[in-house]
Each structure stands twice: as C-alpha cells, then as structure tokens.
Symmetry: C2
Subunit: 209 residues, 2 copies
DNA sequence: GCGGAAGCAATATGGTCATATGATATCGGG
DNA sequence: CCCGATATCATATGACCATATTGCTTCCGC
C-alpha cells in the first residue's frame, strides 16, 4: 500500500474550509475553486475525496452538526457529574447558550447551520442529517427535563418532550433574532434563562432525593 | 403615453412566481428562465421590470414579508376590536399560528422566509428588509403584551419587549421544528399556546378595565 | 388614423462552475 | 532500488445562467 494519507483528516480539513466559506460568502458563493484555495489544496484533490458537491455538502453538514451536538452533550454530562449544588437549569442554560451566535466563533457555526438547514428543505439527504442531529439534541434536553423532574426542580406533570421542544424552539428563534438584530440590541441570554425558568420552576430538594 | 401596464401588478406577479419556485426548487435552483416560465412571460419582460437579480430578490422578499406582516397585524387588530370576551392571549395565538408551516400554503411562505432570511445573512439590502419586518412584527406582539398588562392578563412587572421576543423566538423555532420533523410528529400549536400562557398568566378582569 | 414610446419576446454573449481528463509526484513493498 | 498504487495537481470541457441586444407589437395622444 503506497503513499498513505489520512482520509478522515483530509475530509475534515476540506469540510472546515467549506464551512468557513459558507459563513463568509454564503451558499451560492461557495465554489470548488474557492474551497480548494481556502483549504490550500487543488480542486482535483477535493474530487479525489468527495464524489461530488452533494457528498461534500452532506459531509460538511454532518461534520458541523455532530461537532456541535457533541459539545452540547459534553457540557450537559459534565455538568451532570458535578450535580451537587448546581441546578439542572443552570447546566442546561450553559449548554444551550452554545447555540447562540454571541461571539465570532458561534456566529460562524450559526451561519453554517442556517445555510445548510435551509438547503435541507430541498435536499432529502441533507434533511436526514438535520433530522438525526435534531433528534439527538432533543433527546439530551428531554433527558435534562426528566432529570429535573426527578430532582424536584420541575413540576412532575410537565411533558418532558414538549417542554424540551419549547426550550429548543426558543433557543433557535433567539439565535435568528440575534443574527438579525445584532447581539448587543437585546439580552438574548436573559430571554433564554426566562424560558428555561418557566419549566424549571421549583427550587429542588436540597437534601437530595 | 402609449400602451399602459400596471407595473405594481406585474412586479407582484413576477414576485409570486419567484416565491413559488423558491419554495419548490430552492434558492440555487431559481433562474430567470424558470421564473419567466412560471409566471407565463418571457425572460426579457422580467428584465423590463427589474434591473437585475438583486432587485428582484429584494422586491420578492419585501413582498413576502409585508404580506405576512400585514396579515398578522390584521388578525391582531380585528381580534382587538372584538375584544369583549376574547382573551388577548387567544388573539395573539391565532395571529402567530399564521407563521407555522402547518398547511401547504403556510409551508410555502415558511420556505420563502427561510430561504431569503438565510440569504440576508450575506446581503445587506435583504438584511435591511428582514430587519424592518422583524421590527414591525415585534412591535405588534409587544403591543399585545402591553395591552394584556392593561387588561390584567399579564403580570404588570414583565418587560413587554423581552416577553414579546421570547414568544416570537418560540414561534420561529417551532416553525423550524415543524419543517424538519413534519407537522404530525408533535403538537406545535400546544407548545406555542403554552409559551404564550407563561406570559399571559392572569385571567384578566371580566368586568373590563 | 398615425407616430412613436412603451410592452413584450426571442436570441446572442460572455462568464462561471462542476466535473472530466491526463499528467506528475510520492512512497510502501518486494 | 525500482514497480505500481495512491496522492496531488493543472487544465480542458460542456452546461448553464445573468444580462445585453434586437426587433416586433400594441395602443395612447394628437
């Protein structure tokens, strides 16, 4: 086997370049040539690693969403470990704030999500990627609500799925508003905190369950 | 002055064709030729009415958003007129449900909004259209919250702007979820009702103010 | 009733992009 | 130490699209 190269690493590198471009010039502005230039490679090499634009798109979207989803999950579970005095609502807030475009890095990620989610409206394979990621993250938030119920921080009669969907909807919508109005024109984090607080109403049992 | 034509009507007709295409084939799939075919006219005529693609884009977006904004405003104010026994929360819900892609017509409108909002991320003139429409609709919802405070349906210490932003964020996010998961996979309207109910908590003064 | 400006359509053009093709460089194994 | 498979690149090609150009049609104002 001659001349090895790390395919996964290469694909990821190309996907990153693609995402950076997506955030700066938009979906219609991205071309193979620009991706190649941004990644510091040739156009032909991209073809070598992706069968076509569709495949690159799918991979880049999956790459972006799985990275984000993983970060949210990590924040949730590590927050879960140190659960001693930290309210579940607080852990949830810290995780979901990851989705708001409040700094440059998050804004890039938001734009990537937005571009590809919109594309997913007309591309079933992209839609499936989005659907899977949405299901995962909904599962995480849902788990947190259930956890809150166990700890007495959430009223036991709330439907965890619907509560989670409501919170997630708020985050997504807030992200759009921040992107549109600018992050300094209203306290998005406060709105999110309030939305979470309408589910996590009780103080919890300080003695543990 | 020879051979008159209703410019506004023509432009609207073209914008409608553009929007229908946007919803079905996506932003990248729309071309002048397809718009012309969809509108039943020639490519040249589109050029006659729009200086270029940018102008058509801007007009179509403005057309879509102003139509929607107007419908929301109309529902709000007519609901306001019959305010006798109808709670403000109910009027607000009926208006905002307009934004959810729960039937074919609303789904088209949602897709148009989504496509053009995403495009607005990289086009300042589109962004301005979006910003204006966002400001208007936020104003309407905000007014409803203030009205709710006057009628005793909302706790007087809530910030109308933040409450309105929270409700709007929920609607937008729910629209995305419905578009992704399908309208039959969860009760989006119930989640929206709950979100509104967390602001409109009080029952109101049945005797009027 | 007719001259001409505006409505409208068909086609030409120049550029851009995804993809194809062919050449070159690099390196593991025998 | 050299063969061949893989990695990488440079360029060609064919399609498509926005826009420009050209010419025909319609009907208002005089």
């Amino acid at each position: 086997m001659p001349r090895v190269a790390d395919h996964d690493q290469r694909r990821h590198q190309i996907a990153l370049a693609f995402q950076r471009l997506l955030a700066t010039v938009g979906f219609t502005g991205v071309t193979f040539a620009k991706v190649a230039a941004e990644a510091g490679i040739s156009v032909g090499l991209i073809q070598h690693y992706f069968s076509g634009k569709d495949a690159l798109l799918r991979f880049a979207y999956d790459d972006a969403l799985s990275g984000l989803s993983e970060r949210v999950r990590a924040k949730l579970t590590t927050g879960d470990d140190t659960q001693g005095g930290v309210p579940t609502a607080r852990v949830l807030f810290d995780s979901l704030a990851e989705l708001l475009p409040l700094d440059a890095e998050r804004e890039v990620e938001y734009r990537v999500r937005q571009c590809l989610q919109t594309q997913a409206l007309h591309d079933t394979s992209l839609a499936e990627v989005a659907w899977r990621a949405g299901r995962d993250i909904l599962g995480y938030v849902c788990g947190m609500v259930e956890h809150g119920i166990e700890r007495g921080e959430v009223e036991p009669d709330v439907d965890p799925v619907l509560a989670a969907r409501g919170i997630l909807a708020t985050v997504q919508g807030l992200a759009d508003q921040v992107a549109l109005s600018g992050k300094d024109n209203f306290p998005a984090e406060e709105v999110l905190r309030t939305a979470i607080a309408t589910v996590f109403t009780a103080l919890g049992d300080p003695s543990g369950h």
